[in-house]
């Protein structure tokens, strides 16, 4: 081996904690680090392992190794576990035959899944949930399983159950030995709330169940329980706890706990002073810490000790907040404290599936701990209140009920002491964040991540960091204005009025008059949208200020191909047109799919083929569907009275009329509409930005509904109105929205932020309380009258057509990197 004066530190285990240790020791400098890992891949983020099933790849999860291999201070041996430690000669022997002398040895061997000694655990279809390899096996087996079970209703067990749901297994069961879910984190009442939410999501829960055997011929067929019941399942994931990986330490004669774990002192030293143990393999203060944050803290303590410090590990707060299958669950401080040691305040809302409990000291002064299920938005501030022993307000119930007096959320963050730990993954204090805001002008999350690393770990502290940034700014007299970006000190609404008032027609004019710098990807599309809403000149005239999709008049997809969506108003299409779509799709090898808005989406078009594709579509009578724009998408309809025996009016004709009226109009965000022919609401109009439902006497108009991540029903604006009135109200409503909404905010968000809410909106639209109605109707009519199809303009203009190439110096050549895979007889994009 090469002679080196630097002390040699050998690290055994390349999990998150081993990785953290190496990163920190490398930063401290002065050591030669040799890392051995059992798994074949670089260290990865196990906390977010379940995301592997919703599309994240192993590469996405891998942890960064920036700068590791400069100066050759770290050597990495993957797929080569250490098999023996020779303590006398301070040597480790690896499986591949390497022998390395160490000055210090760090055991970060982690833990393995605990597999109970049940008859039948060796059967096919029985898995554990621990590593990416485990997940790959589960993924490979899942397609043949109609039902699956997870043994263990703890944190990891529920994560595993989520994974089975994500894999599309129709019947997913969770089996728990205890009488409640997550017994280490939450109490019985919290578990009840969580159970009903999980049941609604399709999980079948079996509590108080002790498994006796796994039955089946070669592969698992059923589970047998102690109460003589049986459950037929095709696969089983065991997640019944963890066991520290202490076998290497045992073999070397280090002291281990009676129930496992390498015994260490508060400096994380084992019974051999040259050997340390950190993370889930270490038994410290009688505890095994099965979370990543305490493991990181242990890594930092050892780095500190190796570099001459004398930091100790005092134990760790096991407070935790997570999202399990879409449900918030949190527990902090002393969640199970009971009277007479404390007084308990409980809030329960079975309708919404929310349970909150806080334990306060008997004198009512301090918060001791608590449990949150269904809504953990208060977690950060509650945890800070416990950890910093903040004195409670006179009505501590406000902490979980929210202040009913209307105080600003997040106002409390400034009362935290400077040393309050905000980001526990990266150990960033409140003082560090506030000084980054003031001294380094880190006023965005991105800048803050760069400056302090806060929020780069689990990301759980980001809301708190945001609150701190804006509170610090306003505490220092900096008015936090709702401005578009660094280039314009104006809100979208102000810019809209300026553009209109000064008759500004181009982005450059606006930037020169009211902005600074050279613009960016935020203000360019905002102004592009405003200019289009004001003047309705086709967006192709200022192509490079448009967001990518608007620049190419198509939706960019994975790999850089585009999708094409012609307008099919109201979802009505002739057989002739259907045939054209099929022919075009075949000719250009496009994947076809029916969209949620009753249209047909053609995917996988090369940028260079777009004009030719559109030429054929326009020839057949199609026009742009604006699926790429922040504009009207579709007005979905049910078949209505022309065919349906329940239909009251002709919903299809009305939907087509409305879609053709508002097509092409640019707005702060996309717009969707729906028209249903009766109250059965088959067009799902109440989930749209505007929805119209036929009544006996006319039509009911609903507005500001939303699907998406935060579904919201549209609210009733007007009852039993005729078509003309309906269109008049829609004109006013849409112009009001276009004029006043923030960039990229849908009508639902816009309404939620509006002072006075729906009654204010009704007053503006129906009673014309702002006196704007006539002007808005006129403006809308001008937009309607000036509509042209953007694609028609491009197809007929050779100069514009020339822009649709991948290589400007080889216009006929397609991107050679753009490749497709096959799926059910069609193409699909390559994974990234």
């Amino acid at each position: 081996m090469k002679y080196t004066a630097k002390p040699v530190v050998v690290v055994v285990g390349n999990g998150m904690v081993g990785h953290r240790f190496c990163t920190r020791l490398k930063a401290a400098g002065g050591f030669r680090i040799i890392l051995f890992g059992e798994e074949p891949r670089p260290a990865y983020d196990r906390v977010h392992l379940s995301e592997y099933f919703n599309g994240k790849s192993a590469a996405d999860l891998s942890l960064p190794m920036t700068g590791w291999f400069e100066d050759e201070e770290i050597a990495l041996h993957l797929g080569d576990p250490i098999r023996e430690i020779d303590r006398e000669r301070q040597l480790v022997h690896s499986s591949k035959g390497l022998s390395i002398r160490y000055d210090y040895l760090i055991l970060a061997t982690g833990s393995s899944a605990f597999v109970p000694d049940l008859p039948g655990v060796e059967k096919e279809g029985v898995f554990v949930y621990r590593t990416i390899e485990d997940l790959e096996k589960i993924k490979a087996y899942a397609p043949r399983a109609m039902s699956g079970a997870v043994m263990g209703g703890g944190l990891l067990g529920l994560e595993a159950a989520k994974a089975l749901l994500d894999l599309g297994i129709p019947q997913t069961h969770v089996i728990e030995f205890a009488s409640r879910l997550m017994p280490r984190q939450i109490d019985s009442a919290g578990s009840h709330t969580l159970e009903s939410s999980l049941k609604q999501l399709g999980l079948q829960l079996h509590l108080n169940k002790s498994t006796l055997a796994i039955e089946g011929r070669d592969r698992i067929e059923s589970l047998q329980f102690a109460d003589d019941s049986r459950l037929a399942v095709d696969m089983l994931v065991i997640s019944a706890g963890i066991r520290p990986r202490d076998e290497l330490a045992r073999l070397a004669g280090l002291t281990v706990g009676t129930r496992g774990g390498i015994l260490v002192n508060e400096r994380l030293q084992t019974s051999d002073r040259h050997i340390y143990a950190i993370g889930e393999c270490a038994l410290v203060h009688g505890n095994i810490y099965g979370l990543v944050a305490p493991g990181y803290e242990m890594a930092d303590v050892v780095v500190n000790n190796l570099t001459g410090g004398n930091k100790t590990f005092p134990g760790f707060d096991m407070s935790t907040k997570l999202k399990l299958i879409g449900q918030d669950v949190a527990s902090f401080g002393e969640p199970f404290a009971a009277e007479p040691d404390c007084r308990t305040i409980v809030f329960e809302d079975r309708h919404k599936g929310v349970y909150k409990r806080i334990n306060i000291s008997p004198d009512g002064k301090y918060l001791l701990g608590g449990v949150l299920v269904g809504d953990a938005s208060a977690y950060n501030i509650l945890l800070q209140t416990v950890n910093n022993r903040l004195v409670l307000p006179p009505n501590p119930e406000d902490l979980i009920l929210g202040s009913r007096g209307g105080a600003v959320e997040g106002a409390g963050v400034m009362s935290l002491p400077d040393e309050a730990l905000i980001c526990s993954c990266e150990s960033v204090t409140k003082a560090a964040i506030c000084s980054a805001v003031m001294e380094k002008e880190a006023t965005t999350i991105d800048a803050m991540k760069k400056c302090t690393r806060a929020g780069t770990g689990c990301g759980g502290c980001i809301p708190l960091v945001k609150d701190l940034i804006s509170s610090t700014l306003s505490a220092n007299g900096q008015y936090v204005r709702n401005v578009v970006c660094e280039h314009f000190n104006h809100s979208r609404q102000e810019l809209f009025d300026l553009v209109k008032l000064h008759n500004v027609r181009t982005y450059d004019e606006a930037l020169t008059q009211w902005g600074k710098g050279d613009g960016c990807e935020v203000c360019k599309p905002v102004l592009a949208s405003i200019l289009a809403s004001c003047w309705n000149e086709t967006i192709v005239r200022q192509a490079t200020i448009q967001d990518s999709n608007d620049r190419y008049l198509a939706n960019i997809q994975k790999g850089g191909s585009y999708s094409v969506v012609p307008r099919i108003p109201g979802g009505e299409i002739t057989p002739e047109k259907l045939i054209v779509l099929g022919k075009v799709a075949k000719k250009y090898n496009l994947y076809t799919k029916i969209t949620g808005g009753q249209r047909i989406d053609l995917f996988g078009a090369h940028v260079g083929d777009l004009p030719a594709i559109w030429e054929e579509l326009i020839e057949a009578g199609f026009e742009s569907g604006h699926a790429y724009g922040k504009a009207l998408r579709t007005v979905k309809s049910c078949v209505g009275s022309t065919w349906c025996r329940f239909g009251l009016h002709d919903s299809v004709s009305f939907a087509i009329g409305i879609e053709e009226r508002y097509r092409g109009i640019r707005a702060p965000h996309k717009l969707k509409g729906g028209v249903s022919g009766c109250i059965r609401e088959c067009a799902e109009a109440q989930s749209k930005d505007f929805g119209i439902i036929a009544t006996e006497k006319g039509w009911n108009l609903y507005v500001c509904g939303n699907g998406g991540s935060k579904p919201q029903h549209a609210q009733l604006l007007a009852v039993d109105i005729d078509k003309e009135t309906c269109i008049k109200y829609l004109d006013r409503f849409l112009m009001f929205y276009i004029r006043t909404a923030d960039p990229l905010s849908r009508t639902a968000t816009w309404l939620n932020k509006m002072d006075g809410g729906m009654s204010y909106l009704k007053n503006v639209v129906i009673n014309d309380s702002l006196g704007m109605a006539a002007q808005w109707e006129q403006e809308m009519q001008a937009l309607v009258d000036s509509y042209t199809c953007e694609w028609k303009e491009v197809v007929n203009n050779p100069e514009l057509r020339k822009r649709f190439v991948h290589f400007v110096n080889a216009p006929r050549k397609k991107d050679p990197g753009l490749e497709f895979a096959e799926l059910r007889g069609q193409v699909k994009a390559q994974e990234w």
Partner: protein, 117 residues
Amino acid sequence: MNTLTTIHWQLACRVDDVPQDGGACVLLGGEQIAIYRFTRRDQWFATQNLCPHKQQMALSRGMIGSHGEACEPKVACPFHKKTFSLLTGECLSGEDYQLQTYPVKIKGDRVYIGISA
């Protein structure tokens, strides 16, 4: 500054092939290079076309602009809006990505890219 590497200037395209205040992609010796025509600043830039975040050949289709008080020219990838300095190739969105940048020379209506040998 003296440098030992020689730069070969290769004809990439015509000035009008690149839209004003926008980008376009050229193929040079098998490499995809994004060229940006910053009309507002009367400057030209060039970088690799590959966005290192998701390995997509897309940067030439991104929006360009400036960053900060110093008005550092930048491009935003159309896929996830990661932004990169057009001067240094450094990622400005707080991640450790780095773009290859190339010098650009304009002669008449021709655009040349400098490839170091």
